[in-house]
C-alpha cells in the first residue's frame, strides 16, 4: 500500500469518526463555554439520566423489537420474491423489478401520506403492526435486491443433491439453502434492520404519535435544544446497530464468489 493511500484511508476514518467523537464529547460534557476547546468538566450524569428515563428504555425496546421484526418479515417476504427474480426468466420480470424499486425513488412523504389514509381505513394507523408494515415499504427493496443478487449466483443442483439423498424439501431448505445463502441473508437482514431502525417520518405518520421509537425521541430532543441530552440519546441510538455490525462483520467480509462450489 502506498503512502498516499494510507493517508487517504486515515482521512476517511477521521471524517467518519469526527461526528461520533463530537457526540461523545457533548454527551459527557458539562459547563462547556465558548471559547474553550474542550469542556471544563466531564460527567456521566447526562447519560445516566437519559438511560434512567423510562420513556427512553421503552423506546429502545420498541425500536429493537420493531427493527428486528421488520427485518425478519422482509426476509420472509423477500426470500421467495428474490428467488424467482434471481433464478427464473419470465415475462414481466422487469416490470416486477420496477414495482419493487418504486418505493426507493418515490419521496417517503408521499408514501407515508398515502399509507396513512389507507391504514386509517384499515384500523392499522397508530398500531405497532401498522408501523412495521409501513417500514417494510422502504426495507423490502434492499432485501430483495441483495438476495436476488445471491440467487443469480446460486446453483439449485445443491438442493437437488440434498433431495435425492433423501432430505425432505423442508430439511433441504433449512440445512442446505439457508446455509448456502447465510452470508447474503445476514447482509439483507442487516439492511432491513438499519432501514427500519432509522425511520423517523413513517413512524411518526403511521404511528400517529402513539408509537415512540428512538428516532422519534431523538428528533424531539434535538428540537428541545439540549445538546448534551441529544448527544446522549444519539449514542444510545448508535449502539445496537454497531453491536450488530460487529457481530456480523465476518459475513459482511465474505467475497461474493464464496456461494459457488469451491473448486
Amino acid at each position: 500500500m502506498t503512502r498516499l493511500s494510507q493517508i487517504g484511508r486515515w482521512a476517511l476514518y477521521l471524517l467518519l469518526a469526527a461526528p461520533l467523537a463530537l457526540f461523545a464529547v457533548y454527551a459527557f460534557s458539562t459547563r462547556w463555554f465558548f471559547p474553550q476547546l474542550l469542556p471544563a468538566e466531564w460527567t456521566s450524569a447526562t447519560l445516566a439520566r437519559v438511560l434512567g428515563d423510562g420513556r427512553v428504555i421503552s423506546a429502545l425496546r420498541d425500536s429493537v423489537a420493531m427493527a428486528g421484526g421488520v427485518s425478519l418479515l422482509a426476509m420472509v417476504i423477500g426470500y421467495p420474491a428474490a428467488r424467482v427474480l434471481g433464478l427464473r426468466q419470465f415475462r414481466g420480470r422487469n416490470a416486477a423489478w420496477l414495482v419493487l424499486f418504486l418505493p426507493t425513488v418515490v419521496p417517503p412523504l408521499a408514501v407515508g401520506m398515502g399509507l396513512n389514509i389507507l391504514f386509517l381505513q384499515l384500523g392499522l394507523a397508530g398500531t405497532l403492526a401498522g408501523v412495521m408494515l409501513a417500514h417494510l415499504v422502504p426495507a423490502l427493496p434492499y432485501v430483495v435486491f441483495t438476495l436476488a443478487g445471491a440467487f443469480a449466483r446460486y446453483d439449485e443442483n445443491y438442493e437437488f443433491q440434498a433431495l435425492v439423498l433423501g432430505a425432505s424439501p423442508a430439511r433441504t431448505f433449512w440445512s442446505v439453502s439457508l446455509r448456502l445463502l447465510a452470508p447474503s441473508l445476514v447482509v439483507a437482514g442487516l439492511f432491513a434492520f438499519l432501514i427500519s431502525w432509522s425511520q423517523y417520518l413513517l413512524t411518526l405518520l403511521i404511528g400517529s404519535g402513539r408509537i415512540i421509537t428512538l428516532p422519534v425521541l431523538l428528533f424531539s430532543a434535538a428540537a428541545g435544544g439540549n445538546p448534551a441530552t441529544t448527544a446522549a440519546l444519539a449514542l444510545i441510538f448508535l449502539a445496537p446497530p454497531l453491536v450488530i455490525i460487529a457481530a456480523t462483520a465476518r459475513q459482511l467480509n465474505q467475497r461474493p464468489g464464496d456461494i459457488r462450489e469451491q473448486l
Binding site: 435425492v164 433423501g166 432430505a167 424439501p169 448456502l180 462450489e261
Partner: protein
Amino acid sequence: MTNVNLIALTKTYPGQPHAVLQDFSLAVAAGELVTLLGASGSGKSTLLKLIAGLEQPDAGDIQFDGASIRPLPPHRRGAVFMFQKSYLFPFLNVGDNIGFGLKVQGASAHHIRGEVARVLHLIGLPGSERRQPGQLSGGEQQRVALARALVTNPKLLLLDEPLSSLDTEVRLNLQAAIRAIQRELGITTVLVTHDLGEAMAMSDRLALLSHGRIVALDRPEVLFHRPPSQAAAQFMGVSTFLTGRQSAGCLETPHGRLQVACAAAQAGAATYAIRPEHIRLQKAAGENALAGCVLDCVFRGEYVEYQVAVADLDVRVRMPMPAPRYERGAQVYVRLPAEHLFAVA
C-alpha cells in the same frame, strides 16, 4: 438390486416446439449399467432428471421392480444423482458430506461414522473425514460425491457426465473405479455421457440417443463391430458409407465395383459401411481399391489419419503406425477389404 423400467416417457418443455423425449422406453436389468450416449440436446440429462423426480414427464411411467414411482417425490425414490460437478456442501467436511444422506434419514451418529468410514475405504480415500471439500482435487471431489451417493444404499445410481470435467488420466482411473464399485455392489446404474470411449469402457449395454429417441441399444462390442443402422454407425465413429446395387457378392457403386463378404439377404439397393481403421491406402490399383486423392494427413501418434477424396466421397482412413507416408495431393488407391464391409440399414 432393482430393475428399472421406463415406459413410453414423453417430455416437452414449454415454449419448445420439439419434445425432448418422445415415447421413450428402456428396461434396465437389476445390477446392470446402461449408458445413454448422445450429443447435447439429445434428451439424456432430462431422462435422468425424470427418473430422479427432479422433473415430471408429460406422459409415460417409471417403474422400480414393477411398481410405479411417479407419485413419489425425489427424496422418497432412492435414486441418487451424481453430476459433472461434485456439489459437495461447502459448509460440511468430507465426513459430514458423506453422512448427509444417512443423517436426514435419521440414522444414529455411531452408525453414520461406521458407514462413512466404510465407503471412504471403498473409494480409496480412507481417513479423509475431517478434510474440507475445497482441499480436495477434482477427482477426489468426485470420489467423495460417489461415496455420498452410495452410502445411503440407493436403489439406482444416476451418473450425469460425472467425469467430463476431469483430466484424462484421472478420468480413466475413475472410470475403472466406478465400474469396479458398481459391479461389487451390484447397483443398477444409468450413465449419461457424450464420450464414446467412456461409454464403451463402462457399459453392460449402450443406448445411442438422438433427438429423444433410441437409435440403437446393445452391448458395446456389438454396436462397435456391427452397428445396425447408418445413424448407429456414425455414433460409433464410422464415416464411410457406400450405396449401390447389390448382386451375387458384389456391390455396384458409382465409384466402382466392390466385393462384399457378408452378402445382404436380397439383391437390390444396399448401403455398406466400413470402419476407418479397416481401410488401407496403397499405390497400386487392385481388388476393392478405389482411386482417390489425399486431402489431408494428420499424425496422431499410434496412427496416421488420412482424408481421401474418392470422387464426391470423403473417406477417413486410420493407418496404424508404422504407415507409408502419402503427402497431400498424392494419387492413391483406397482399399476397402471385403471382409470388413458390412451392410447397414
